[in-house]
Amino acid sequence: MIVSRRLLAALAAVMLWLPAAAGAVDIKAVTTPLGLKAWLVQDKSAPVVSLSFSFAGGAASDPKGQSGVTNLMATLLTDGAGPLAFQAFQRRQEDAAASLGFSTSLDRLMGTLRVLSVNREEGFELLRLALTEPRFDADMVEQRRAQIVAALNQAKERPASVAARTLMATEFAGHPYGNDPDGTADDLKTLTPPILKQRAGALLMRSGLLVAAVGDIDEAELGRLLDRAFGSLPLGAPLPLPSEWQPPTRPRTVVVERAVPQSTALMALPGIARDDPDWYAALALNHILGGGGQQSRLFSEVREKRGLAYGASSTLRVYRKAALLVISTASANERIAEALRVVRAELARLRTDGPTEQEFVDAKTYLTGALALSLDSSSAVANLLHSMQVDNLPPDHLTRRAALIGAVKIDDVRRIARRLLHDEATTTVVVGKPVGITADP
């Protein structure tokens, strides 16, 4: 059969192919004949094209009473389009060995396409159909809605999910970021095919579109295929951004009771914007506190020295209108209070004394080297290119990054530690049956 021959041919081609020479990631800014903009890394080292793209406006812009509409709409884009109902659309993807998917963050509606370069026409045609002629068939709307409602239920039985959700709802109370991107069961019930179609029309437009492509494809060919997939979308005008977020002004502890032997804890502090001049100092600080892996202070103090937890880590989260530093750990109900005391002590110590010279130097070495560790597949590189665009970075950022990290001084890290690591506005969420932790009213 045709399908089989095509795939076997591609497989054979892969076996013959020799890898391209190693080198820096060479990013080209491409403008298509219709004026669409994209970034491209041409890479012949795998017979694959990976696309990562997004539209402005995510779950945070769900209309009131329609929470979850963006997420449900995004899911349904690949559930039938044009003349193809769900099963037919799926089969076309499978036959081309193409994989097309959409997802939703608070700020953006994101999509990925991965296709063998030999099948790229078909891959981009399916993408065009999904973007411009999604069907929103009633039976698929019902099926996806039921799956999302079940997933919301399931999340309630997982302590880590409960903690994550509660943290967002508490930290962003009254702000759109506090809403669950998956929506509520009640709101989901009210969503109909016309509402979903309308939501697709409000988000799928060329204005605010970001596109990154990686793989065995050249500029001209990419331009032609992008025009075909995205060219007929309206130019449109992006939705208004969410309002400004006011960080909490007092510490708060929330306990969610669950009958489990281990309590899961999350702690949030106001973070730092991606375009802040101290961003790289903050990256170093986070690495020293709880980022990276087994070298961090939290790992060492909470896990290695005291055996209080399997994991203890921190991460910087950046949204369009907010930023957080989030610390996470989990410990037996009887010991979680002690684990959190150790975490707080480390925050205070790092804030007061700053990092050691050795910690500082090691953090910079790690951050410089770590970027390469993530460049291991076409889709990983496409995702990196896409997130660089979301962060408003220039295409030559990767060549400048090492210098930006190199320029950080230990005083910068001390300063950012004093700015970020304070107790006045910490939100703590504990899920389980914690002993010795009292919730604030």
Binding site: V3, S4, L7, A10, L11, V14, M15, L16, L18, P19, A20, A22, D43, S45, A46, P47, V48, Q87, Q90, R91, E94, D95, A97, L116, Q143, A146, A150, N153, K156, E157, A259, Q262, T264, G292, G293, Q294, Q295, F299, R303, E304, R306, G307, L308, Y310, G311, S313, A330, V361, D362, T365, Y366, T368, G369, A372, L373, L375, D376, S377, S378, A380
Partner: protein
């Protein structure tokens, strides 16, 4: 599902417990045709998978030992030992191993499965020398002290609380394994061990296990990425070459599954919000049982429950609307027998009995009416396509090579995989289904909210 869950991530704090992607789909690492292998005089097998896609290199050392080599009463040793491997040697202080990798811009971790234990680092090419030196050092030079053991025991128990005791579904999986493979039998006991055993393990227990299994002739060294065979050979000779071989007893796995245990397990748990129905059949692997079915079973799992165009999905989710999702999975990389698993997430209004009978109807129909050439071909294509995409990722290759070699597979087996998958016929698929879907080697599992209202 069960076998996938049996894989324990090692020290990686904060790492999600990601299920393995379909095992054999990953067999094509980047440039698999260029994989080379050689064996040092002391018996260490070395595999090199060169790729210049990114300026990084991964070292993976796999020991042919896992939790299934433990005995009841001393379970959890393999996994506990994996944790203690980061606690120092004569030349590397406790915790210094990972700290050194990190300060050199790299990442490292480890994992334990039923049949193997792996340690890996990803670093810049000029740091390969460093990590090979350190990995060779702890192959025979580990030192474990009471001082380091005591807090780490708590870490291991917290890991178990996080992965298993906090999760009704994981607890049900443990019950399924026990009833399918046998109480106190190698695959019937948890990879992380029984809590009571872990609490009692001593420095002497761990060192005895280490001395018995950690040796160059019981290990496989895999290096993938931006390096050359010559470079790896030079470094392997330098650092691993001087280590002495040791006599290692051959490993054994039972020829049969559980006898006399109930074929049904139900977990009613107040923490459960959504029910689950699943069925688990004892199945041959690449290494045990009627191994000739191992390739057809991969095609069977794909066409029966691989994705939203599969038989179970169409019948249960689309046509009868009894389920919200349906799946099947089979992993042949096991030294002993393995399992063929399938399951349904029942819709809120579906009685379990009706779901079970609908699944039974589908299995019976497949046996009675066979499968079409077209659906076999689609399943084959999807397996092959997944293999092509796996070549696009540097991360997936070494572990899959390791899993296969650790159970006695050869490089030739790995090379022949696409041909063997492509050679599967509709009759092979039905014969494999007939062999595995027997009434005497199965467990049916149900997870329900307390009271089992549905």
């Amino acid at each position: 599902m069960m076998r996938r869950r049996a894989l324990l991530g090692g020290l990686g704090a904060g790492l999600a417990f990601a299920p393995q992607a379909p095992a054999w789909a990953k067999l094509f690492s980047v440039e698999r045709r260029r994989a080379e292998t050689f064996t040092l005089a002391n018996g260490l097998q070395v595999v090199v998978l060169p790729s210049t896609r990114a300026p990084i290199v991964t070292q993976l050392v796999i020991y042919k030992v896992g939790s299934a080599d433990e005995v009841f009463g001393k379970t959890g040793i393999a996994h506990f030992l994996e944790h203690m491997m980061f606690k120092g040697t004569a030349t590397v202080a406790p915790a210094e191993f990972s700290r050194t990798v990190s300060k050199n811009g790299g990442r490292d971790n480890a994992y334990t499965t039923y049949d193997s234990t792996g340690y890996y680092q990803t670093v810049a090419p000029d740091r390969l020398d460093l990590v090979m030196r350190m990995e060779a050092d702890r192959m025979t030079g580990l030192r474990i002290t009471e001082k380091e053991l005591i807090p780490e025991r708590q870490v291991v128990l917290e890991e178990r609380r996080m992965r298993t005791e906090n999760s009704p579904s994981a607890l049900l999986d443990e019950a399924v394994s026990e009833q399918l493979f046998g109480r106190h039998k190698p695959y019937g006991m948890p990879v992380s061990g029984y809590v009571e055993d872990v609490k009692r393990l001593t420095v002497a227990d761990l060192m005895a296990f280490y001395g018995k299994y950690y040796a160059p002739n019981n290990a496989i060294l895999i290096v993938a990425g931006d390096t050359t065979v010559e470079q790896v050979r030079k470094l392997a000779e330098k650092y691993y070459g001087p280590l002495a071989a040791r006599k290692v007893e051959p490993r054994r796995r039972p020829d049969a599954g559980a006898a006399d245990l109930p074929q049904r397990t139900i977990r009613a748990d107040a923490r459960v919000a959504e029910p689950r129905w699943s069925r688990h059949y004892l199945a041959p692997s690449y290494a045990k049982g009627l191994t000739q079915h191992a390739y057809a079973l991969q095609v069977l799992a794909r066409l029966l429950g691989g994705g939203e165009t599969s038989r179970l999905w169409r019948a249960l989710v689309v046509d009868r609307k009894l389920g919200l999702s349906a799946w099947a999975s089979y992993s042949p990389t096991s030294l002993g027998l393995t399992s063929f698993d399938l399951g349904v997430h029942p819709a809120s209004t579906s009685p379990m009995a009706e779901v079970e009978s609908a699944v039974g109807g589908q299995l019976g129909k497949l046996i009675d009416e066979g499968v079409t050439a077209e659906e076999v071909e689609r399943a084959q294509n999807r397996l092959l396509a997944a293999a092509i995409y796996a070549q696009d990722s540097l991360a997936s290759g070494p572990r899959t090579y390791g899993a296969t070699l650790a159970i006695g597979g050869t490089m030739a087996d790995i090379d022949a995989w696409p041909q063997r998958i492509a050679a599967v016929t509709p009759a092979d698929v039905v014969a494999a289904a007939r062999h595995v879907w027997r009434p005497d080697g199965l467990v049916t599992a149900m997870l329900t909210p307390q009271g089992g209202a549905r």
